[in-house]
């Protein structure tokens, strides 16, 4: 499969924006997958799509069947071989750069973490790790980081990191192992603490030990208003985590930031695949600095509500621009 996939240029993207948005790249995607027309229905276009750069749709599918994907890719390669030079070129006169993507808020010089979530057995380290996992990212701006660090960073200095702790509890320490989940509202956070202690200093910078605890409880009432994430119905769910970690700050930025959180989860959200697994069960999280070239936005970047993450012209993609009256139908 990997050998076959290497014959393609591979890209991955979030489909909701592509299938509902009005930026040129969204319109292009919609026309290419929808017979030349904008998408106006509410159906999902999740899955695999194969295009020539000129716009010809060479194949599509949304399946976990390896055989079906192999057949899709082989057919697409055959179809591509039949195309002429013009059909392999991006059509002239198209402005491809997106007016808005959440990645535009990437916190240069700040803290960008890659987060892994994984189901854990009750036995913890004594049992093999689960094969179910998911990834997300976590952001803090450079200004937020410097505002959190005290002037006194002498050996043994101890201080709280409330913004990181709260943002972790609301958006990051969430049960998305088996599917897309929901963030917590500020009022649903019972506790969010992360304490840093200076353990030593050397040429690399100031070294911290991190320790924390979070507790979040969501009831049936959705408390984050009308937005992209508003569920059709609320479902009670909880998360309580212990956190340990270490970090190194070189005077300008963190050069290391490693966290592990182990938590107890209960309940479910609309799409997180826990309908038959209400728990309680254990869940683990691992966070580390994201590779510098990985600018993927956190799933809940739209709910960070900070000025340094630009917002789109439209408040939500729940309705298309035409449905909002902001674009001619």
């Amino acid at each position: 499969m990997l050998e076959l996939a290497a014959k393609f240029t591979c890209a991955a993207d979030e489909v909701w924006r592509l299938q509902r948005g009005s930026d040129e790249d969204c319109v292009l995607f919609q026309r290419w997958v929808n017979g030349g027309e904008r998408i106006t229905d509410r159906g999902s276009r999740q899955g695999l799509w194969v295009f020539a750069a000129g716009g010809r749709l060479l194949g599509a599918g949304n399946t976990r069947s390896i055989d079906a994907v192999v057949a899709l890719l082989e057919d697409a390669l055959d179809a591509y071989a039949e195309l002429d030079e013009t059909q392999r070129r991006i059509p002239a006169g198209i402005e491809l750069d997106a007016a808005h993507r959440w990645e535009h808020g990437y916190p240069e010089g700040g803290l960008a973490l890659l987060r892994l979530s994984r189901d854990l057995a009750r036995e913890g380290l004594a049992a093999p790790p689960s094969s179910r996992w998911n990834r997300d990212t976590f952001w803090c701006s450079a200004d937020e980081v410097s505002a959190m660090l005290p002037e006194d960073l002498g050996l043994g200095a101890t201080f709280e990191l409330p913004l990181i702790a709260t943002r972790l509890a609301r958006f990051c320490l969430v049960d998305d192992v088996r599917g897309q989940t929901l963030p917590y509202a500020p009022a649903e956070i019972g506790e969010a603490r992360l304490v840093a202690t200076v353990t030593h200093r050397n040429a690399d910078g100031v070294h911290f030990a991190l320790r924390g605890h979070t507790r979040a409880t969501a009831g049936e009432l959705w408390q984050l208003g009308e937005n992209l994430w508003t569920p059709k119905r609320g479902s009670p769910h909880t998360m309580e985590c212990e956190i340990i970690g270490m970090a190194v700050f070189n005077g300008e930025r963190f050069t290391a930031f490693d966290l592990v959180a182990v938590g107890k989860r209960t309940g479910r959200t609309q799409f997180n695949g826990r309908a038959k697994d209400p728990g309680p069960s254990l869940i683990g999280f691992r966070l580390e600095l994201a590779p510098p070239n990985l600018h993927l936005a956190p799933a809940f970047a739209a709910l960070y509500e900070v000025a340094w993450i630009p917002r789109p012209e439209l408040a939500t993609w729940r309705l298309s621009p035409a449905e909002c009256g902001l674009e001619e139908k």
């Binding site: 695999l48 212990e242 209400p278 309680p280 956190p298 799933a299």
Partner: protein, 82 residues
């Protein structure tokens, strides 16, 4: 169904622990937990492909590389959170 059979079935049915019964494991060894939670080479096979992280970046590369574009589009970015 007779009572013995019912009792047997009930005894074999996994029962989730209560909130109080389920204890968080000891969390003192950061590096062991990091290793335990890390993705295996098997988990990361898809990472061996050179993924562009947007449709547009992929499209530009597909043109430059003269290859078809394979776009993986999901609710939630497939390389981040799905």
């Amino acid at each position: 169904m007779g009572r013995p059979m019912l009792a047997l079935l009930l005894s074999l049915t996994p029962v989730a622990p209560t909130q109080d019964e389920l204890r968080l494991p000891d969390l003192t060894d950061l590096s062991r937990w990091q290793e335990h939670l890390a993705l295996s080479p098997e988990d990361r096979r898809f990472d061996s492909l050179d993924w562009s992280t947007t449709f547009v970046d992929g499209l530009r590369r597909a043109e430059a590389e003269d290859q078809p574009l394979l776009l993986w589009a999901m609710n939630g970015h497939p390389l981040g959170c799905t």
